[in-house]
Symmetry: C2
Subunit: 304 residues, 2 copies
């Protein structure tokens, strides 16, 4: 099966700890890398991950809090030092370009590549990236400032040809692509051979939803329904539910409740508050509702 | 003896590696903390160092390359989240304030403390900070952009009173401070008791010089003469001397040569190029000229 992996670079929250880097992930879909959020130290963690820098062309920023974007300047600047030539596309709230402008102008003058900003509207669910293997959509979230999550949806891959049947019907090569894409075959004699006799279905397309930072927001459920993996922030434990509400964050149990209602296959929680030395409490609480939950951690790679 | 320590937070150079953080140090003089440079991840390393955030009120930035200042926004922002109230003073080239302004305005609005920028002229050797225990001066360096090092000079501490002699001469308490500061004592009968009979000298004031980034620059020698500790960049090995010159950096051996000529007591080299997996080659080369050399490394604490 083709690659679809989520690499956690950092899963802490606003306050730095010695246990966690700030928010950043890399989604690897068929060796194309998509970064989601870019907190301080993301480039260091990217280096550690051994993912290829040159495969990363698109960065999605959920919202403009420092712990989700303070790593951008370092990353952009390092790409410049490495002689990168491909454009780097950053999808973020429109303010980001203005905020980085003076530093880009000063630190990155004469860089060998271009940084292209794509303003997104976090209030709307819409496709912001699309290629032949994947589409990325925004998921409107509710935080203290405009914020959205991101839904990565793999495109269907062609069916697999059953070689013996192709030989049996002496199907000419130029017909193969049509058949892979689901069409029936009509013999020169006009006999219709149904597609299901000629192919086996390819793996179902996979999907990944990233939702952070947000208050518990059930309105996201229809959009993330049945995803293979949901990353949802679970900043707080149940005992700090009031604090979660006040700061527009989610408890681990609320994240699990969302996972249950959205019937996702697997849940990973992250964006941990600095107050928990031991995050297993968050895991335990989430698992009471949704057993197939795991804790994010630095350098964790999850295969879909 | 009162505390005078240098804490290495990061000693890599422009390109990130999994071995090093970017440039940052904290000089601890009598529990006042002075940060020198603030590369990406400095706040994380500061947390690791267990130094008290609230003791840090002054940050000195040698020059405006990203690997020496991209950690500032994260640090400033975290101090805000922690409810800091004391002003934070940043000494740097005047451009820095303009570069950070939009981000400070956006990310740090309503912060509980003030960030005060002190523009420095890297071309001049002058005192830029002074209190009763320490003074900090700029050391003009020569790099691709305006750059200076910093010289930390401890103020002399009062002599130690010899208690027995004070009792013997029945010296009144109000005289003690004068005597500690070196004055003789005159008895009511007019007899002069020389200071050296009443006190033992305090430890000699210590000094620390930080010189990075720079081409090998002998003009700094008079200013750093005899310092207790010299941090000098030793970015390159001898085999890359041409590259050092071209990029306005120093080889480890050149750093050692400076240490010899300036008759410093100890040398620590850092700002290592990413190309050396094993930096012991840099240490060996430097030690051929100046045996009392050590390699900087993350979380190293050097006591003066």
């Amino acid at each position: 099966m083709e690659k679809f992996e989520v690499n956690i670079l950092g899963c802490g929250s606003a306050l730095p700890t010695t246990r966690h880097f700030s928010s950043s992930q890399v989604v690897n879909i068929r060796e194309k890398l998509f970064m989601v959020d870019c907190g301080e130290g993301a480039q260091l963690q990217l280096r550690r991950s051994k993912l290829k820098f040159t495969r990363l062309n698109h960065i999605f920023i959920s919202h403009l809090h420092g712990d989700h974007c303070f790593g951008l300047m370092g990353l952009i600047s390092t790409f410049g030092l490495l002689g990168r030539t491909a454009s780097l596309h950053i999808y973020a709230h429109k303010e980001l370009e203005r905020l980085l402008a003076p530093q880009l102008e000063f630190f990155c003058k004469g860089m060998t590549y271009e940084v292209v900003f794509h303003p997104i509207d976090p209030a709307k669910a819409e496709v912001i990236y699309d290629d032949r293997s994947v589409s990325v959509s925004t998921i409107p979230l509710k935080h203290r400032i405009p914020t959205c999550g991101f839904l990565f949806q793999e495109k269907p891959t062609p069916n697999h040809i059953i070689r013996d049947m192709v030989d049996f019907y002496r199907i000419p090569v130029f017909e193969l692509n049509r058949i892979k894409n689901g069409e029936d075959y009509i013999t020169p004699e006009g006999v219709v051979v149904p597609n299901h006799r000629l192919t086996t279905p390819s793996a179902a397309p996979r999907s990944y939803a990233y939702c952070s930072d947000t208050i518990c927001q059930t309105s996201i459920i229809p959009q993330i329904k049945g995803v293979d993996l949901l990353f949802h922030e679970g900043t707080f434990a149940l005992c700090d539910a009031a604090r979660a509400k006040e700061t527009f964050h989610t408890t681990a149990m609320q994240a699990a409740q969302i996972a249950v209602e959205a019937q996702v296959k697997q849940l990973v929680i992250g964006h941990f508050s600095a107050r928990y030395e031991d995050e297993s409490i968050l895991l335990k609480e989430a698992q009471t509702l949704f057993p197939n939950t795991l804790l994010a951690k630095e350098n964790l790679r999850i295969t879909l």
